[in-house]
Symmetry: C2
Subunit: 328 residues, 2 copies
């Protein structure tokens, strides 16, 4: 198979981790056709828009998209791309790797985040005389879709439980509906255990009993918050990839941002971006290649000899990349 | 001074930890007049309402209110009380005590949570044909007030930094306003350092660098989520008190709920409720008495001989209470 891959490095360390990841992909025996697109702060400065129509077209035409990171314009770029491409499912694995600052060794769960609505619909926010009002939109359609996606994910990946997360005691109508749909849809998956928690309780349980989670499904902003908390649990954002999946497109990006403080120094940890590429490979059905990169990363972390600063090492992005390629 | 204290034990372990706390207060040489009010699930069953007008009147007439916990009706009771009494500031200290499952020893920060608006205004939620919509209300008035409260708190308590938490990259108007007000109000406190983070990043930093926080100020639901995460950081909800403060009233409650799973067994940890009473004593200006109870609790935790199950001990609520009284 020949794959057409949209590549959007973006700003800051986005460019560095993307370059590193492309050289790992190039070391596999696969046929990739990369089409580069611009987006982000520098693109805004240069072209007057943070997300040119041309870039959206590149993503639309591709089999999958790799996205690095955007700076201040991140919301305008990534939220818009998610919505334009109707990539409704945001998958964020939280997994403890060896030799990291993970609070426990046995953390391994997936956050399935709704990616199109909630508080993320920009034109639903208004300034008023007294302040401002934002609307949190919860539709039956989008929430059923994401909940079904989460149960399917559990089924296909040998997970035994799905946890629905909401704030239905306060948001009685909107999250009351979410909870209702969660159990409705769950009926189609009789073999999967179901439980639901309030988002505040979940924020606590993630620390006190993270090993009890397998798949979490939740609304957009709660998923945003809980997945960064998940990153904290396993030692930071350097290792958290993500997938944005829709019916007509998919985009893979590290959960971290453009990290202006370390950008340009060649010391960024490329692993979150590489693990995002692994998610892309699985999405494309290239399971062997995905396993290969996955295992090389696991080996690198287990050996703990060539690590970037965030993981307590001294290696550069380039050294980590070369080591991973040699481990393939 | 004679104090008129409204006492609302509520449901489940609320009753048990309240009884324990009242006996500690009785062991101090202060003049308290307790007026008991009903609220919660059992009250709903008995009287047809979870929060009778009479209870609100008792709280209104009191110098301060002690609140235990409510069950399923918690939102109807506590959110309504906060709003009726205009208790706009919710203070939630997160502090590492010895011999707990705290992830570090040096955690000690205060979350100052806006308590009246955001997504908590029930009549702002509507069912629609397609789903439901909730409105997140951010007013200049309420946010200025809570931000000013946080800076004043920092000033009066020897804290050097206040962190404003929001999601202004996505909620550009409402949280953009919050951030703007944060720095506007902050100008009146030139000696206090200011910083602001996105809520998702904060959820991560709370785990990776909790020791760097001193005072966090944020909107209602973010404060709810982050304070439960804070509880997780220091080993669970058994030790987290809170204060709801307004111009005409104040209510003190543990952050934990009614815990139906252990209710009636006499094994609930009463310390979060007792620490809430300590916050009440400080609010009333009874600093010596507050210090006395505070020190007794610290001694109990340091000795680690008489602890409830959540802290790895085997003691009953009553044994912990007697030990604390003997340490006064
Ligand atoms: C940059 C921002 C808009 C984005 C989000 O809130 O979704 C980011 O935090 C993420 O998690 O991908
Ligand atoms: C019971 C619930 C309505 C409440 C809240 O969300 O404020 C609780 O979680 C809290 O933190 O006091």
């Amino acid at each position: 198979n020949k794959y057409n891959i949209a590549v959007i490095p973006g700003d800051g360390i986005g460019r560095e981790v993307m370059e590193a990841t492309i050289s790992v992909l190039d070391a596999l025996n696969l046929d990739f056709d990369y089409v580069y697109g611009e987006a982000g702060d520098e693109c805004l400065e240069k072209t007057g828009t943070a997300l040119p129509e041309e870039t959206i077209e590149i993503v639309r035409a591709a089999d999958a998209c790799l996205f690095g990171a955007a700076g201040e314009t991140a919301a305008d770029v990534i939220v818009k791309l998610r919505q334009e491409m109707k990539m409704f499912a945001n998958l964020r694995p939280v997994k403890a790797y060896p030799n990291t600052n993970s609070i426990r060794d046995d953390i391994d769960f997936m956050i399935v985040r709704e990616n199109t609505e909630g508080l993320y619909i920009a034109d639903q926010e208004k300034l008023t005389d007294e302040g401002a009002v934002a609307k949190r939109i919860i539709t039956r359609e989008a929430e059923s879709r994401i909940i079904d996606y989460a149960f399917k994910y559990a089924e296909e990946n040998g997970k035994s439980k799905v946890t629905g997360v909401h704030k239905a005691n306060v948001l009685k109508k909107s999250d009351g509906l979410f909870r209702e749909i969660f159990y409705e849809v769950g009926q189609n998956y009789p073999d999967i255990e179901k439980e639901d928690f309030y988002v505040d309780a979940t924020a606590m349980y993630l620390i006190t009993q993270p090993q009890n989670f397998e798949v979490i499904v939740t609304t957009n902003l709660f998923g945003d918050i809980l997945s960064d908390e998940g990153a904290g649990l396993v030692g930071g954002l350097g290792l958290i990839p993500s997938a944005n999946i829709g019916n007509d497109g998919a985009l893979f990006e590290p959960v971290h941002g453009s990290a202006p403080d370390i950008a340009g120094k060649g010391i960024a940890n490329p692993i979150a971006m590489m693990l995002s590429a692994v998610m892309m490979l699985r999405y494309l059905g290239e399971v062997d290649a995905a396993d290969k990169v996955d295992n090389a990363i696991l080996k690198l972390l287990t050996d703990a000899k060539v690590l970037t600063g965030d993981l307590g090492g001294k290696a550069t992005t380039k050294e980590v990349t070369e080591e991973i390629i040699s481990l393939l």
